[in-house]
């Protein structure tokens, strides 16, 4: 555990990507199985404990620490795990903590009602930095600025194997990854994974630079599709069953039984998950009701049935068609859907256009009339390349809407921004009062964040827990992708993807926008 704690601390504090990779590589090289594989699982978020939850840790701590002092401390530190590690009042560490694999075994085998006592004794035995790593391990919320991809990059570097190959194998293997390490160290074959059971890393697009890119690209080389406002998914169907993955490779099938139970055939498809009746997509707000739930509610299944608007095919049957060009894959996709007509899958249409001007006009009309987020451009001659390759796929987003809104409330951020008021609720005029229309926590520079933080501290008129109410005097120019009607907000509207475009230190609040301005931007349905 000591070495793992040191690794965690180094990863959390070293800004240099290369040094993080070097530290990981060194750790994997010198740590025996199964500890290194378990560490890899912890770092990539592949390991969770059934009974060890943040709430349990908190309960353990609150048996020893005054709840009010804990709350004040948490508000200050901003990270639950770190608060617990720092506030734990008993320090008696002479006996070393168990090694990582034993610790994980303990977490998995200790009964729910004995866990608090186990955790208390471990916290007391731990040295300060171990205590921090221990809590991070137990809660699973690492927040050490390490992506799973970086961990895999370290595996590639330590072994000289191809990162792409590691990523492909990744979704078919489980901790402690003994066969993976054996293969990386040339002591065994690459783990064999059936393609039908695994996630295939997605091909992603780059934002288009209208001035630079459009001038140099030939419109005849590209196909255009609408950019659908749902969530990107990968549907894997084969002998092994049906899996639905999010863009990051998380299994989300259980939340969408309506899709998983009705689709059939053998293929790996790429598309956008949407909700709506008869393939008519409802606003993202409605889809949101179904996200972040482990299981679907019957009411939601009825009101917001899900479907996938498919735009690419990676495997046709068990044939890997990713090396084919987009136009060939498109033919395969259309043929596959014709052979396997579905109730929950439909085809994303290809938009015909002659030149960029025409497409620009289509894009604008689609945004205004149907609330489309923009269009996607795909090079017709491009294979399906995982990652974000340059020059193959582009997204051309609609121009954002903007509204001048007044800052109403501010809340302290978490993690890296824990000492700053960085989450802002803003509103617009409805008659003589200001009603909240949304919340944003990005779009400003670090320097602006400092200025905002100072302004908020100096202009607070009330506080409720972590929230400060401020004088209604500061105007933000808020950009957002679209506005939708919403019964959940007092103002009756909800903004999609709001961000702070500019801080209008100069503008008096009286000149901020009105609710009518925002309502006018809701697309007619």
């Amino acid at each position: 555990m000591k070495r793992f704690a040191q690794l965690m601390e180094l990863l959390a504090l070293t800004p240099s990507r290369n040094r993080k990779i070097a530290a990981l590589t060194e750790y994997f090289r010198t740590t025996p199985d199964p500890d290194r594989g378990l560490a890899l699982a912890v770092l990539t978020g592949a390991l969770t404990f059934r009974n060890v939850k943040p709430a349990l840790l908190k309960e353990t701590v609150l048996a020893e620490v005054d709840p009010h002092l804990f709350a004040l401390s948490y508000d200050y530190v901003g990270d639950l795990g770190e608060t617990i590690a720092l506030i734990w009042p008993h320090h008696g560490g002479t006996e070393e903590l168990p090694r990582l694999s034993d610790l994980i075994e303990l977490f998995n085998t200790t009964s729910k009602h004995e866990l608090p006592a186990l955790i208390a004794s471990l916290l007391t035995r731990a040295q300060v930095n171990e205590r921090w790593a221990l809590v991070k391990l137990a809660t699973g919320a690492l927040r050490i600025g390490l992506s799973a991809r970086l961990a895999k990059t370290a595996l590639a570097e330590m072994s000289g194997k191809d990162l792409q190959q590691i990523e492909e194998i990744w979704h078919g293997i489980t901790p402690p990854y003994t066969e993976l390490f054996a293969w990386l160290e040339d002591k065994g074959e690459a783990p064999l994974i059936a393609h039908t059971a695994r996630f295939h890393p997605l091909m992603l697009s780059n934002a288009i630079d209208e001035e630079k890119d459009l001038a140099s690209l030939d419109p005849r080389d590209f196909a255009a599709e609408w950019k659908w406002d749902g969530i990107r998914v990968q549907l894997v169907m084969g002998q092994g069953g049906i899996s639905l993955f999010s863009r990051t490779g998380d299994e989300i099938g259980e939340a969408f039984p309506d899709i998983v139970e009705e689709v059939f055939g053998e293929a790996v498809l790429d598309g956008e998950l949407l909700v709506g009746h008869a393939f008519d997509p409802l606003p993202f707000n409605d889809l949101q009701q179904r996200l972040n739930r482990k299981v679907a509610l019957p009411k939601h299944l009825k009101e917001y049935p899900a479907f996938i608007r498919v735009y690419d095919i990676l495997f046709d049957g068990d044939e890997d068609v990713r090396p084919l060009m987009w136009r060939e894959r498109r033919e395969r996709l259309e043929a596959w859907l014709a052979r396997n007509p579905q109730t929950r899958l439909d085809l994303s249409e290809v938009i015909p256009f002659a030149d960029w001007q025409e497409l620009a006009a289509i894009r604008r009309r689609g945004a205004d009339e149907n609330g489309h987020e923009g269009v996607m451009l795909k090079l017709k001659a491009s294979p399906y390349v995982p990652g974000r390759p340059k020059g193959l796929w582009f997204k051309w987003k609609r121009d954002p809407n903007v509204v001048d809104a007044v800052l109403m409330y501010a809340q302290r951020g978490h993690g890296k921004r824990s000492s700053f008021y960085s989450d802002y609720t803003f509103g617009v005029w409805a008659g003589n009062e200001i009603v909240p229309i949304g919340k944003a926590y990005f779009g400003f520079t670090d320097e602006e964040l400092k200025q905002l933080d100072r302004w908020i501290r100096a202009n607070t008129i009330g506080s409720f827990g972590p929230v400060r109410e401020v004088r209604k005097e500061l105007v933000f120019e808020v950009a957002f992708d679209s506005a939708q009607l919403s019964g959940r907000h007092k103002s009756g509207v909800a903004l999609r993807f709001p961000r702070i475009n500019r801080i209008r230190w100069d503008k008096p609040a009286g000149e901020a926008g009105t609710l009518e301005d925002v309502r006018a931007l809701v697309p007619a349905t």
């Binding site: 601390e9 959390a12 504090l13 070293t14 800004p15 620490v65 005054d66 009010h68 002092l69 804990f70 004040l72 401390s73 200050y76 530190v77 901003g78 990270d79 770190e82 608060t83 720092l86 506030i87 009042p89 320090h91 300060v128 921090w132 927040r143 600025g145 993690g415 890296k416 921004r417 824990s418 000492s419 700053f420 933080d453 501290r457």
Partner: protein, 335 residues
């Protein structure tokens, strides 16, 4: 007159019209120590320890107050029927607590203090009193400072492990910088330590006043290649300054009590946080309050809420002071 009327919430001793650590110019001031949230220029008559007066003159100029009266620790000054005595606070060189006595009533204003040993400051003395005005910089139970020797050892291990890189330690130029240098010396590190220009005058002052700091040189006068594997000390702002490019691929370290919060360290780009504090941590605050026997506690300079709550739970009268001109800036004030 009872203890609560002897001094008011702006730390004004009414009977003798004298303020402790006033934040605006006053005719008469008692200064606990030289940090700028306690010592300001422009007062009429200043009473402080000789060390603190020397610090003030170094930082603000010879004529930063109308007149100075130096008082030794433990030496009482009687003004009308009020007796003032300064006792060591252990915070930095010359830092004092102020004991104010009047007709059997005793008030102690701690200024900033700590109780862990520090070779650069006169060691803290516990003073019994009726009313205690305590600081609360680290007034949350998450602050439990480790042994500074262990932190120094960690720093030296990192220096050893990174022979090709320099280590740049961000440390407040008054007090913290000298303490860190002295901790390194006491741990047996006798190689030259390289300074940012802003540290020089105060390091010289400490040396003049009897705190040996060993071989100190200037980063500005040293080549980049020579600084590999070496230690440099600069003000916290220097960590992000272009100045730091004079050092070869420096490991950025910061010596501060705030460094116990890793998210804080990350946020300021610190790779090697050193939890070395010149303030009492939560446990020391609680012990000190109990040991002074004070029935009333006023809390200032920091996270007042938590400490006031704690005191009240112990059955004490406790109030936060919101001293004008001293505002919580979120924490990273002078240390």
């Amino acid at each position: 007159m009872n203890a609560m009327t002897l001094i008011d919430r702006n730390l004004h001793i009414r009977a003798i019209d004298t303020y402790v650590d006033p934040t605006v110019p006053r005719a008469r001031a008692i200064i606990t120590h030289g940090h700028s949230d306690h010592a300001r220029s422009g007062h009429g008559a200043v009473l402080a320890t000789a060390d603190t007066i020397a610090v003030m003159k170094t930082r603000y100029g010879e004529d930063c107050a109308g007149s100075f009266q130096a008082v030794a620790f433990g030496e009482s000054v009687v003004i009308d029927d009020v007796t003032i005595t300064l006792h060591p606070a252990g915070h930095i060189l010359g830092s004092a607590q102020v004991l104010i006595e009047h007709k059997g009533q005793r008030v102690v204003v701690t200024g900033d203090y700590k109780r862990l040993p520090d070779a650069t400051a006169q060691p803290f003395e516990l003073i019994k009193c009726d009313l205690l005005v305590t600081e609360a910089t680290f007034g949350l139970p998450v602050f439990q400072h480790p042994d500074p020797k262990a932190e120094t050892a960690r720093l030296l291990r990192s220096v050893e492990a990174n022979a090709e890189r320099a280590h740049l330690i961000g440390a407040y130029p008054l007090g913290k910088a000298q303490r860190v240098i002295r901790l390194l010396r006491d741990a047996g590190y006798d190689a030259p330590i390289y300074l940012h220009g802003a540290m020089v005058r105060l390091c010289e002052l400490y040396e003049e006043r009897g705190v040996a700091l060993g071989d100190l040189r200037l980063v500005m006068e040293t080549s980049k290649a020579e600084l590999a594997g070496k230690l440099a000390v600069g003000p916290p702002s220097a960590l992000k300054d272009v100045w730091s490019r004079r050092l070869p691929d420096p490991v950025l370290a910061m010596a501060s009590g705030w460094m116990s919060v890793k998210q804080r360290a990350r946020q300021s780009g610190v790779e090697l946080p050193l939890i070395i504090s010149d303030h009492a941590d939560w446990n020391e605050l609680g012990e000190t309050i109990a040991e002074t026997g004070a029935g009333t506690v006023w809390v200032t300079h920091g996270r007042e809420d938590a400490l006031v709550y704690y005191c009240r739970k112990q059955g004490l009268n406790a109030e936060p002071l919101n001293i004008q001109g001293f505002e919580d800036d979120g924490g990273e004030g002078e240390e």
